[in-house]
């Protein structure tokens, strides 16, 4: 185990968050544990919004249920905290009813890939005009650290006391196979690259996907002897290799082994709305 040696953080009186214009300050403090990666993922998203400089009223964020799904609640945008696994179909309705809206789904690995897995692959297949950001912490954090569809083999969780024996998904490979036209993976250690990945995904037409690897020190980190959040970030520093364009099937994340981050898919393909509009134009819609 790597032991944390950072000094206690300095408290700055009257400090203001540089991106507070995008935050619902009356909802702070947030619910996340110390060392959780979600604050970093949120920060990257805030800076992405800032640099994209879109009209904030043109952006809506949709989430399912879980720790990650609490992100929209802190954003001063039109935000929707829906049912478990259903963020993508909800976002589908929202986007199709209001086509000029930028709709971003932010949710966790269990929400998007277990209970919501079917919705994910079909939205990707349709090349629906959505960006999906999945914060993957390898377990169900909010309910106490149970095993999920990304829990690595032998991973210890509250429901795999002998170690996980189910094969996990490689989310990058899954997204690419299902038809996503932009697929990237970053870690919460790489805040700036993550921000730019989010911006690229949000600016790309069609179904785009960013996987964000994040520590869950309270549950997954503790039970797998990874240590504090900062210790998991150190493993990212040691093991994450930027391999843009790597074949998605070679990008599985295996604990203790080097893994790929970067942009793996970036292709142009007519989106769902492109196809819909082309096909229905002859109906002479009013």
């Amino acid at each position: 185990m790597i032991v944390s040696t950072l000094p206690a953080p300095e408290i700055i009186p009257d400090a203001r968050h540089p991106m507070e214009k995008f935050l619902r300050k009356d909802r702070i403090p947030h619910i996340w544990c110390s060392g959780c990666g979600l604050g970093s993922a949120l920060s990257s998203f805030l800076f992405a919004l800032d640099e994209l400089a879109w009209d904030p009223d043109s952006v809506a964020v949709v989430a399912g249920i879980g720790c990650t799904a609490r992100i929209p609640g802190y954003l001063r945008l039109d935000t929707y905290h829906t049912t478990h696994g259903r963020a993508i179909p909800f976002a589908t309705g929202l986007k199709l009813a209001k086509k000029d809206l930028h709709v971003v789904v932010i949710s966790g690995d269990g929400d998007l890939f277990a209970i919501g897995g079917n919705h994910f692959i079909h939205a990707a297949r349709r090349n629906l005009d959505l960006t999906v950001i999945c914060v993957n912490n390898f377990n169900y954090g909010m309910t106490g650290g149970q095993a999920g569809p990304t829990t690595p083999l032998d991973g210890r969780t509250t429901t795999t006391p002998l170690g996980n024996f189910e094969h996990p998904f490689n989310l990058v490979h899954l997204a690419a196979s299902a038809g996503a036209t932009y697929v990237a993976r970053w870690t919460t250690l790489d805040g700036r690259r993550l921000q730019h990945g989010m911006m690229d995904a949000m600016g790309h037409k069609g179904f785009t996907f960013v996987e964000v690897l994040a520590p869950c020190p309270t549950n997954f980190g503790r039970r797998n002897k990874i240590g504090e959040g900062i210790d998991e970030l150190r493993t990212y520093a040691q093991l994450a290799n930027i391999r843009h364009g790597a074949d998605p099937k070679d990008t599985a994340v295996v604990p203790g082994r080097p893994f790929a981050v970067g942009t793996f898919v970036n292709v142009d393909k007519p989106s769902y709305l492109d196809m819909y509009e082309a096909k229905t134009a002859s109906l002479g819609a009013r």
Binding site: R24, D26, R27, P56, D57, S58, A60, V62, P72, G73, R76, L77, D78, T79, Y80, H81, T82, T83, R86, I88, P89, F90, A91, T92, G93, L94, K95, L96, A97, K98, D100, L101, N118, H119, H122, Y276, T280, L283, G284, A285, R286
Partner: protein, 381 residues
């Protein structure tokens, strides 16, 4: 065709098609569904009718997704609908609850077939009436309308959209396979029948998205309108923020119920047939009421003065009307294609004042008038 997209004129169409045209006339511009009989004609017709009026039709991967998409579309500002049958209705219960909790106006059509489970996929049933009442988890009130003819399928679909906007709720149209596939005359008016959505009257700075007006219904700020609100299925306060206290929960759940219970006089629809001198009242709905109607004449030929109370609004159940009815007759016969669902409500409302008999059939075929007649004679014994 008028510019509003209405298929104005007199038509010969079935109940499913009439529901689709009712949706168009009501301003529905978003439909998400999943293939299932016996609602196929609704989705098939809307797959070209909705794009032709500038709306969006999408076939989702399942009914869970269809219902979620409908709720999302409501927040995108659309009048939105889905249609299904029993198995799909079960899958929709999750996000029906989301629509109730987030006060999302939308319409859900259930063309009932024989059930439980896959049951009788192409044959009639009325066994989803209690699932309509409380099929999603938690305590809530719901509005459910039951048409008995293709014309009424059109009219009640329009009405369902109007009520969904009026109360900011999902409204259920609980039709059945026979009405869905029955061809009759349907008259469609030229004028738009679209009900307005209640919009905020204050600028974003002072707007509380779940602060109700005096009638307990809050105005709705949809996405992209500058209000930047938070919408959650969690128990929430007037700001839309999660509030995990029993006080906030009680206040919200009570208001969601009361906004419907307080205005039953606006939602209650029923038809009385030959009840003025009736000694027996037949209570029925949907296609079963068509059969029951035929039995009234048979009964009167035999000297039994029978009338009918036809439920058009099944939920909220018309308790008060049923009590008044019980004071006027010697017996009540409930005719339905299940083994006794709405009859429980009748018994609850009349509180033993008069005997209540059931003419039940599990579905797969409609009743015969003779079966209903036997029930009418039985209740007087």
């Amino acid at each position: 065709m008028p510019s509003n997209g209405n298929l104005a004129g007199v038509h010969f169409m079935n109940g499913d098609e009439a529901i689709a045209e009712g949706a168009i006339a009501a301003g529905c511009r978003f439909f998400a569904g999943y293939p299932i009989t016996p609602q196929s004609e609704i989705a098939e017709r809307l797959s070209w009718r909705i794009p032709a009026v500038g709306g969006m039709y999408i076939q989702m991967e399942d009914e869970i997704a269809a219902m979620a998409a409908v709720v999302g579309a409501a927040w995108g500002g659309a009048k939105a609908m889905t249609a299904t049958s029993g198995p799909g209705f079960s899958l929709m219960m999750e996000n029906l609850g989301l629509a109730i909790m987030t006060e999302s106006p939308c319409v859900v059509v259930d063309v009932q077939r024989g059930a439980p489970s896959t049951g009788l996929p192409t044959a009639v049933g009325q066994g989803d009436m209690m699932q309509a009442r409380w099929g999603s988890h938690g305590h809530y009130e719901i509005i459910a309308l039951v048409p008995s003819s293709p014309q009424e399928a059109f009219d009640l679909t329009v009405r369902a959209f109007a009520m969904s906007e009026r109360f900011r709720v999902p409204v259920l149209v609980m039709t059945d396979e026979v009405v869905g596939h029955m061809y009759e005359r349907v008259e469609i008016p030229a004028e738009s029948l679209a009900a307005p959505r209640r919009r905020p009257t204050v600028p974003p700075a002072g707007f509380l998205p779940f602060q109700p007006d005096e009638d307990l219904v809050p105005p709705m700020a949809c996405a992209g309108e500058g209000y930047r609100i938070h919408v959650t299925g969690l128990t929430h306060d007037e700001r839309g923020y999660p509030d995990m206290t029993a006080t906030a929960h009680g206040r919200l759940v009570s208001r969601l119920s009361d906004k419907i219970l307080r205005y039953v006089h606006e939602t209650e629809l029923y038809e009385e047939v030959e009840l003025d001198d009736a000694e027996v009242a037949v209570v029925s709905y949907g296609v079963s009421a068509r059969v029951a109607h035929g039995a009234l004449a048979l009964a009167r030929q035999r000297g039994v003065r029978a009338g009918m109370f036809r439920l058009i609004t099944a939920w909220p159940f018309p308790d008060e009307r049923m009590r008044q009815l019980a004071a006027r007759v010697r017996g009540i016969v409930v005719v339905e294609l299940n083994l006794g669902q709405m009859s429980r409500e009748v018994e609850r409302a009349v509180q033993g004042r008069v005997p209540v008999a059931g003419v039940y059939h599990a579905g797969g075929r409609i009743h015969t008038p003779v079966e209903v007649l036997a029930g009418i004679e039985e209740v007087l014994r």
